[in-house]
């Protein structure tokens, strides 16, 4: 293994260290205990090995399972019904982000042949409830800053938007790198996009 390979693995490990610490701490709308619990529900749903012993609300548990295993079936009515049952839109952004980010990291580890990390021990603390100025519904079902799309999908919760960009850059391409159709980062851009397109097709994701 050459220096660059070690460096890539180290960069990814540093990113995961960061994300694991963040997962354990209180977030914007959920406590550390709830955040780790959301991750646990998502993992168990994906592995079809559910303990059923969850401290989350029923609606948050159901939402975590659905986003983890059948996100392609989600529609606006379901998002609104979650809201009526107590899972408001901004907490829904954070819950989605936790599951989506965990899915990226776990898939990476399985892909390289390494057992995914155990979930972290929750840390004490209260959610910040910090609202993002200007976040509102703009051609999407969840609040975003600006018109809803891939780069700003979690922009309704600032910390989750930052995390998405860190993971995206470490595992795939940074936003500036996205502009380069000829970039080679271990693989050529055409190879990377073939993987991306096939994954989206498998997940039945139209985007």
């Amino acid at each position: 293994m050459d220096d660059r390979q070690i460096s890539t693995r180290q960069q990814i490990e540093a990113m995961v260290d960061n994300q694991w610490q963040r997962l354990a701490r209180a977030g914007t709308w959920f406590s550390g205990q709830e955040r780790v619990e959301i991750a646990k529900v998502a993992r168990e749903a994906q592995s079809h090995d559910e303990s059923g012993l969850y401290v989350l609300t029923e609606v948050a548990t159901e939402a975590a399972k659905k986003i983890a295993t059948e996100a392609h079936t989600i529609d606006q009515q379901w998002v609104e019904e979650c809201g009526e049952r107590g899972l408001a839109l901004l907490p829904m952004v954070e819950l989605t982000a936790i599951i989506a980010q965990l899915s990226a990291i776990d898939t990476y580890y399985v892909g390289v042949g390494v057992t995914p990390r155990n979930l972290p021990e929750p840390q004490p603390g209260e959610p910040s409830q910090e609202e993002v100025k200007g976040a509102k519904l703009m051609r999407g079902w969840l609040p975003t800053r600006g018109v809803a799309g891939a780069p700003n999908c979690f922009s309704g919760v600032a910390a989750e938007a930052d995390a998405l960009h860190e993971i995206h850059g470490a595992l795939y391409l940074s936003m500036p790198e996205m502009m380069d159709m000829n970039i080679t980062k271990g693989l050529h851009r055409s190879q990377i996009e073939l993987l991306a397109a096939r994954t989206s097709n498998y997940n039945d994701c139209f985007y």
Partner: protein
């Protein structure tokens, strides 16, 4: 869909032959280097067959090296994340589906979500 567009754009920019239907039918061929090993790795990773994945990983490693395997796993992981994010967000890419994307969707046998039509 968006990344089938990106796949097409990256192939066009590099004069690589591509029939995008390889995305839905991996038995098709395309000009992307080592496409067969990449697709086999992706499918086995997503399906979760660990024995088949071990074999696919070694076949991929033989042609793209350790760094390529790391990047392949990272790319699949990233789209596990983005697919869940965008499906829950319900974003519309524009007020209506543009004709180019509609043609691509037809080619990929994909039906636009109801809120895009």
């Amino acid at each position: 869909m968006a990344h089938s567009s990106m796949l097409r754009a990256s192939c066009e920019a590099n004069q690589i032959q591509l029939d995008v239907s390889v995305v839905i039918d991996p038995t098709q061929s395309c000009g992307v280097t080592h496409y067969r090993e990449l697709l086999t790795f992706t499918d086995n990773l997503l399906v979760g067959d660990s024995e088949a994945l071990n074999g696919a990983r070694e076949q991929l490693r033989a042609v793209v090296g350790d760094e390529g395997v790391i990047r392949a796993a990272g790319a699949v992981g990233t789209f596990q994340m983005m697919n869940r994010a965008l499906d829950t967000l319900g974003a519309q890419l524009g007020k209506e589906l543009n004709p180019e994307l509609r043609l691509l969707a037809d080619k990929l046998n994909m039906t636009p979500p109801a809120h895009w039509v």
